[in-house]
Amino acid sequence: MTTEAFFKCDETIPERAIHIAVKGPGGCQRSDGSDCFIASNIATTPGDMTERGCTYAGCRGVVGGPVKDVIQLTHGPIGCAFFSWGYRPHLADSDFHMKYTFVTDMDETNIVFGGEKRLLKCIIEAAQEFPDAKGVFIYNTCSTALIGDDGKDVAKEAAKIIGKPVVFFDCEGFRGVSQSAGHHVGNETIFKELVGSVEPEGDFSRAINIVGDYNIKNDMRTFEPLFEALGLRILTRFTGNVSVDEIKIMHKASLNVVHCARSATYIADMMKSKYGTPYIDVTLFGIKAMSKALRDTAAFFGLEQRAEEVIEQELAKIMPKIEYYRQRLQGKKIFIYQGAPRAWHWIELLRELGMETIAAATTFGHKDDYEKIFNRIQEGAVIVDNPNVPEIEEILKVRRPDLFISGNKEKYVAYKLGVPFVNGHTYDTGPYAGFSGMLNFARDIDKALHSPVWELLKAQGRPVPGTSVAH
């Protein structure tokens, strides 16, 4: 039994019904007609055209990749290393991590005879080629995991030889149901292998870590100065614009400020239980949320008054411009499809700009992500877990959002349908975080919505030549 919320394109795969819901008066109304909450974080239906990636992608691409001064070595054949090289704009104040990718380049013979010796030699060679690198991160892949290479042992041996940390991540692609599993592996491994390995001297009473921000297009530049203006010091950024030495001492911070709750609460929890470090969840996007993040952080240190001054000063700078954009964007309907947290981070930000989210979807959200979406989104909105290409198309065609916010793969689907689009994964012209970033976001949305190109398409678009489909 499916309800009206169910998609036409899913008629032949009814198992999708539990992943689709509408926000009703009582909360989640699942499209299979049941009272259960929307299903998430379970295996994808084979062949449904999912947009999900793999565990390796979550670990190498998201959590490990931004660390700027280590050799990023993939243990496996070449493809995984090539595809994960240099496209995610997790920027830093240096670019070694963006410019270089390393891979053990396993071929058929290595797969048959094992790759441990090869891995060891590769680590040593890479360290020799780049003596300034501060360590090596090794990411495991499907084939090397299946043949049973003991990468951890090799990493230990290599660390002794090169005299630097060598960290091995068990992030083979098949490990979980999505890239989310890779975030978890990344957190656990970094915590176990690096955090607390150095005990620095000094006063850390006003030191915080920003946890779960990857400095996409320099997002951090928008909010770091604000935390610093409170009188706080940012010790470690997990993981954007961060060095391995900073990770080693992150346990010294007095507070963890957690931004991406999905990919980084793991390490905050582990630090809490081992070192007693408290953490707070924040959203660093939008006026209310960014202000609240500053207030909550300040409250922890007894700096409330200072927070109000900083907020007032910053808002004075942006509010006239926000008002300008609000007038231009008022009433627009948005479809957000992101990895997970941005789908709930941005509902309120868009509301502040006068827009409502009518559809929200995530690639790898868990139950807590969907709870936050249901709490924030307006009634009548559709929520989709792990959407696939035809579902996305159907939302764009049937629910007709004015704007679609998603990633690079989905962008061209939107364009083929004549739907304005903003790249929420890697940003069009970011950063989008903080107060100043919100102006970039608003400007990009404004540009996307009001470009004359859509009128041109509407007026000039024609059917495929030779077809007689009515307009």
Partner: protein, 471 residues
């Protein structure tokens, strides 16, 4: 004396290649209405989709069987059967290609057997379902493309009767861009030769804006044409290493003469292609093509004072590199380093023979990475770099212009619709190269370049062989 080398270092640093599945997917996009299922971890579909979207700026839809940890124990059969069924029910494609991955090959799934079982259980689903063996640990991205073509040649053409011809020539363009296929179409129209493309993604991967959006991207070779390809007059493979083997299959199975030619880049290689068409069909080279050819000669002579004697480093796929060496030599430049990721003794021998024929001294590198090329360029500077986008870091570091050719070009727009083949493609490259050289010299001197340069008299004999004649 040219030398052939393979990298000593085991660790690959900034490889020039990706892996086999992307090649099979790309070639399959040239069959109208076909869908590819990647049998493996989700990343093995998502990464290549992402990569292709960045190059072609098009929706790239590929299915995955979403294998997880469980399937490494029980095998991926159930997932593959479900994926084929889901894809059929939802899309009714004209053909399905299943490409394997590291994961499905290593766990030993019998993909042809599983497909056979599916077809036995679904006699009503009367479309070709083929499989291509594409784990990342064999060969490179071109291997997947080549194996797909071979599989098509083995499986799809119908049995032909002796003397029964469709009057067409099978053309296998190889790994080229949509723009190249369009240029080849122009050449063949001018030659008045009917063609059967194996395969044609000139429209499917460089599509237009159509209202309404069609169910499948328009264009591509139809399955009926593939079936008919056994009745063609001849097969011309325009790349030896991508499609050459398929041409041999047509020869062996259907007694169709096979012509395996160098990629038609530059004057001599385009001549050879057109002469081969004349040889097969008896049709002369058209006056318009003669005029184009004359314009190319004119363009080369117009620009030679800017280019003669400049040294070039070229990296990329084997056939592309081979063609570019000939073109740059025709322009009076000196190819110095050539690099391909593919390990192939045959290619090394081809390149030595080419260098000997052209009277140049080449450092020929196979299975070598961009880091090695960078070291060579530091030791012996070159004036120009040709290859895909990943060479931009070398270009930046050494202040050498990069001419973007090959795959992927992900940091610029529109390169997928430019042609580098044929006389027009050669003219485009001649202009692009010359302008890049002029651009580097600055706008003030570009018109009077030679007067501004220091005189450089070769001390050891005449000619332009050892660093003389140019910049």
């Amino acid at each position: 004396m040219s030398t052939v080398m393979k990298q000593d270092r085991l660790v690959a640093i900034n490889p020039t290649r990706s892996c086999a599945p992307i090649g099979a997917m790309l070639s399959a996009f040239g069959v109208h209405g076909s869908i590819t299922i990647n049998h493996g971890s989700q990343g093995c579909a998502t990464y290549p989709r992402h990569q292709m979207a960045r190059h072609f700026r098009e929706p790239i839809e590929v299915a995955t069987t979403s294998l997880t940890e469980k399937t490494t124990v029980y095998g991926g059969k159930e997932n593959l059967l479900a994926a084929i069924e889901n894809i059929w029910n939802r899309f009714h494609p004209t053909m399905i290609t299943v490409c394997s991955t590291c994961l499905s090959e290593t766990i030993g799934d019998d993909i042809p057997g599983i497909i056979e079982e599916f077809q036995t259980n679904h006699p009503d689903i009367d479309i070709p379902i083929i499989s291509v063996k594409t784990p990342s640990y064999i060969g490179t991205h071109i291997t997947g493309f080549d194996l797909f073509l071979k599989e098509v040649a083995m499986r799809i053409p119908l049995k032909s009767r002796k003397g029964d011809s469709n009057g067409k020539v099978n053309i296998i363009p190889g790994w080229v861009n949509p723009g190249d296929i369009r240029e080849l179409k122009w050449l063949l129209r001018e030659m008045d030769v009917p063609v059967l493309w194996l395969t044609d993604y000139s429209d499917t991967l460089d599509g237009g804006y159509y209202d309404p959006r069609p169910h499948f991207p328009p264009g591509g070779t139809t399955v009926a044409e593939l079936q008919d390809s056994s009745r063609s007059l001849a097969t011309i493979a325009l790349q030896k290493y991508v499609g050459g083997e398929a041409a041999k299959v047509y020869k062996k199975r259907h007694n169709i003469p096979a012509y395996i030619l160098p990629m038609p880049i530059g004057l001599a290689n385009t001549d050879k292609f057109l002469e081969t068409l004349t040889e097969i069909t008896g049709k002369p080279i058209s006056p318009e093509l003669e005029r184009e050819r004359a314009r190319l000669l004119d363009a080369i002579v117009d620009t030679h004072m800017f280019n003669t004697g400049l040294k070039v480093a070229i990296y990329g796929d084997p056939d592309l590199v081979h063609g570019l060496v000939r073109l740059t030599t025709e322009m009076g430049m000196i190819p110095r380093f050539v690099l391909t990721a593919t390990e192939s003794k045959a290619w090394g021998d081809d390149m030595v023979a080419l260098a000997d024929e052209l009277g140049i001294e080449l450092d020929i590198m196979m299975r070598t990475d961009l880091h090695e090329l960078h070291k060579r360029m530091k030791a012996e500077p070159v004036d120009l770099l040709m290859g895909h986008s990943k060479g931009k870091f070398l270009s930046d570091a050494e202040h050498v212009p990069l001419i973007r050719v090959g795959f992927p070009v992900e940091d610029r727009f529109g390169y997928h619709r430019r042609a580098i083949v044929g006389y027009k493609g050669a003219m485009y490259l001649v202009d692009e190269i010359t302008n890049a050289i002029m651009e580097r010299r600055g706008s003030l001197v570009s018109n009077t370049l030679m007067a501004e340069m220091e005189e450089d008299i070769p001390m050891n004999g005449g000619g332009c062989g050892s660093g003389g004649c140019g910049g």
